[in-house]
């Protein structure tokens, strides 16, 4: 999905680094990467290190770093455009759960066109771009780790090192402590059922939780205004 934008901007001192957050490792991530054949660095993060370092709680999430290695936009939803398949009519053969998932997915706040335009502006203008944030605004947006989020991180990391029921206990505790961390939830659900449907272990899945939340709140809106340094 990022290839076109990367090809457009790569000769202007810009690079994309994609990072797959996936406890199961290359065997899951490679299927997508082999199909995409990326020319940019495409990395595996099998322990969700980026979640811990940058406070990333969902995907896709983008972070901007300038030439000096400073953060100029902290984690936020990052789409290079609107995925075309979302708006295609669904064939009658689509099963009800997938139909439900796609129906909710259409309502998600993606704002890909705005995001891509902002990225182009930053690559062209650097620090003069209104989308490049100063250190105080970056710190404000990054915010603080709550004691609950810190405990959730300890449970999630422990769970990734355990198997079966022992792992589930700690995944569930991470979910309880930090309910809006979708990376914790989706990773744990997918270890049990790839479709993230309700089951004996996890009584709710992606579709149920997104419906309960309201799909429009799943990705926070991009904070593009007012932009100031």
């Amino acid at each position: 999905m990022w290839r076109e934008l990367r090809d457009e901007l790569k000769d202007r001192g810009f690079e994309v680094v994609t990072v797959a957050l996936e406890t199961r490792g290359w065997k899951e991530a490679r299927r997508w990467i082999d199909a995409a054949q990326p020319e940019h660095p495409s990395l595996l993060d099998a322990t969700h290190l980026l979640g811990e370092l940058y406070g990333i709680v969902n995907v896709p999430t983008g972070v901007w770093i300038d030439e000096q290695g400073l953060l100029v936009r902290p984690p936020e939803p990052a789409f290079p455009g609107r995925p075309a398949f979302l708006d295609q009519p669904l064939p009658d053969t689509v099963n009800p759960r997938l139909r439900g998932v796609l129906t909710e997915a259409r309502k998600l706040n993606m704002e890909g066109d705005r995001y891509a335009a902002a990225l182009r502006d930053w690559v062209a203008q650097g620090a003069d771009s209104p989308y490049a944030l100063g250190p105080e605004e970056v710190a404000r947006r990054l915010g603080e780790r709550s004691p609950e989020a810190c405990r959730a991180a300890a449970h999630f990391e422990l769970a990734q090192n355990l198997e079966g029921e022992a792992a589930v206990v700690h995944f569930k505790e991470a979910h309880r402590l930090q309910p809006r961390n979708w990376a914790y939830k989706r990773q744990a659900w997918s270890l049990v059922d790839r479709t993230q449907a309700p089951n004996a272990i996890y009584p709710t899945g992606w579709l149920e939780e997104v419906r309960a939340l309201g799909a429009e709140f799943y990705y926070p809106p991009l904070e593009f205004e007012p932009e100031q340094r």
Partner: protein, 111 residues
């Protein structure tokens, strides 16, 4: 950080947590929290975790300890934390190798 014992080498503790152990205590940025001096080159998570506000979990059956981060700002300052991760073409890739260019880190997942 997850370990199989509550005693970990000081260097490992510092690398995993971002806290530096100095004579005056555990320091991160301009903040220092007084700690008893570590015995030798190892640090006991059971004595430092509580003082730094870090949660420490123990799973006796698996023989594992897990220590979470300390509450507070996600980052001290705007310097992007460096990391090194395996690249799909083989070998490791370090974020800092892109210094001098603008970088978009894009976290995604197969799930």
């Amino acid at each position: 950080m997850v370990t199989s014992a509550p005693l970990v080498p000081v260097a490992e503790f510092e690398r995993q947590t971002g806290w530096e152990l100095k004579p005056e205590g555990a320091c991160r940025g301009s903040l220092c929290i007084p700690l008893p001096a570590p015995a030798g080159d190892q640090v006991d998570l059971r004595s430092v975790a509580g003082k730094l506000g870090m949660p420490l979990l123990h799973e006796p059956e698996a023989g594992l300890w897990s220590m979470g981060p300390a509450p507070g700002p996600v980052l001290e300052g705007a310097v992007a934390p460096d990391f090194t991760l395996p690249d799909w073409r083989g070998g490791d890739f370090r974020l800092a190798s892109l210094r001098g260019r603008k970088v978009l880190i894009l976290a995604w997942a197969p799930w």
